[in-house]
């Protein structure tokens, strides 16, 4: 665990995050810190609140209490005294542009080719000149191993290829933080490896990442911090090898015995 005080500005700083859907409280006070360049892997049974927490980081979900700061700023709110007020959608959009997100079900834009998917946000959001964006898009697609698929539509690509386009699309905005919401859960087993390889390259290149996943191998290999969530709370966290080899908590042990 990195010492919070030693580092001036954590990339993600969550304090006492609460979130309910109706009467169902899914996050019951989450405190987490992700340092720049760190890879945090979040695991836990379904319904543990791990995906919800991830979606709160870029304000796809509102929070009911607490604070989530990304690089020092609240993404969806402004602070006045000890109260927070939700920002206007335009302001939220501006802040979200610096956070990349990859979804379980890819969510590529089906009416655009792979290259158009990657180019869309830099051109429309950042106002980048189209030729420059196209160059960037081609570089990124080549980087994720899809140099021959520029003109393919999502429906013509396998799940693994689609997810790699989705990663390239998120990277095209040059984000300072990448969020992965079970990026390999919807993939056929033989396609998982390609996507994980791209993510490992990204981690080694120093990208700050929060990854919700069931891939323990990935956690062990590139994770700096493993977080086990259950019932809306962080049950246990620490270096992945330690947590996986000798979990301290009963619930962690029970969960790991099922998935390992």
């Amino acid at each position: 665990m990195t010492d919070v005080a030693a580092s001036p500005q954590p990339m993600v700083l969550a304090e006492g995050v609460h979130k309910s859907f109706g009467r169902n409280e899914v996050l019951k006070g989450i405190d987490l810190v992700v340092q720049p360049g760190q890879v945090m892997v979040v695991i836990g049974p379904s319904g543990s609140g791990k995906s919800t927490f991830l979606r709160c980081i870029n304000h796809l979900e509102k929070i009911d209490a607490g604070r989530i700061r990304v690089d020092g700023i609240l993404v969806g709110y402004r602070e006045a005294g000890d109260k927070i007020y939700e920002l206007r959608e335009r302001e939220v959009a501006e802040r979200r542009a610096q956070i990349g997100m990859v979804f379980q079900r890819f969510n590529l834009f089906p009416h655009m080719t792979a290259l158009e998917n990657v180019v869309e946000a830099p051109v429309q959001v950042k106002g980048m000149a189209r030729p420059k964006a196209m160059g960037l898009g081609r570089d990124l697609l080549e980087k994720v191993g899809l140099g021959d698929k520029f003109r393919a539509y999502p429906s013509q690509l396998s799940g693994g290829q689609q997810q790699r386009v989705a990663i390239a699309r998120a990277l095209a905005m040059d984000p300072k933080l990448m969020l992965f919401d079970e990026p390999t859960s919807a993939l056929d087993p033989e396609l998982v490896g390609d996507v994980l390889d791209v993510m490992k390259d990204l981690a080694r290149a120093g990208m700050t990442m929060v990854v919700v996943t069931h891939e323990m191998g990935f956690a062990r290999e590139v994770g700096d911090e493993l977080v086990f969530m259950d019932g809306g709370v962080v049950v246990e966290h620490g270096p992945p090898r330690e947590v996986l080899a000798s979990p301290r908590h009963e619930r962690t042990k029970a969960f790991l015995s099922k998935v390992l």
């Binding site: 870029n58 796809l60 959608e89 335009r90 959009a93 501006e94 979200r96 542009a97 610096q98 956070i99 990349g100 997100m101 979804f103 079900r105 969510n107 590529l108 834009f109 089906p110 009416h111 655009m112 869309e120 946000a121 429309q124 959001v125 539509y153 999502p154 429906s155 013509q156 989705a166 699309r169 998120a170 905005m173």
Partner: protein, 279 residues
Amino acid sequence: MVLVVAWIVAGVARVVDADTIRHYLFNRLILDGLRTTLVVAVLAQLIGIVLGVVLAVMRLSKNPVTSTTAWGYIWFFRGTPVLVQLLFWFAAVPLAFKTFSLGIPFTHVTFYEKPMVTFMTSFVAALLGLGLNEGAYMAEIVRAGILSVDEGQVEAAHALGMTPGLTMRRIVLPQAMRVIIPPTGNEFISMLKTTSLASVVLLGELLREAQNVYTANFKNLELLIVASFWYLVLTTIASIGQYYLERRFARGSARELPETPVQRIRRNLSLWTRARVEP
């Protein structure tokens, strides 16, 4: 069944004067009417589409004032007959409001002012009556289209930093098109025919021109056949256009587009000629 149809056709053929039909098919008055029908149908449909998109987005807005306004518009314009709406614009509005003026409300600034009777011509009344009515129907079609787009698309766009407006324009509406276009094609085909109602506001469209001719020469049946012929031509062309539009917007959803009828005929022809040459 076939016999019954044949009997009716034969019966009609016996009383119809084919020369009259031939004579009036390309008559100047009829062709003028045809042009007016086409122009009014296209413009009214365009008004309807633009209005429909605006109303649909308003209807889905989180702001209750905005969504209720759209709901009220749709409720009113869908709930009253289009014939009444046409008469309202043409026959009631000029009596109730003496002048038409464009300006800033509650000030004395006006950009444009005209007596209402000269502004509200048959043409303007037809466009307003048909277009505003169509807007209500298009709103429901566009709304269904927007709702058909996966929520994940909006989330992905938002996660990339796109604003709601940009997301609607670049991501949601283009995908909604696939659901919007088939019923819109139907609406346009229906609009081509509904323009005939504008004959009540004295618009010189196809039906009115045909009527004008047959009140003079009593060739009612022949002229109604002429009018029907042109309506069929218009709706047939519109159906073909609809087919190609649907194909265009299926892009990305189907792995390979099916061949068009023209392509199929060409392929069959080339197979046939090759088969004849080769042996």
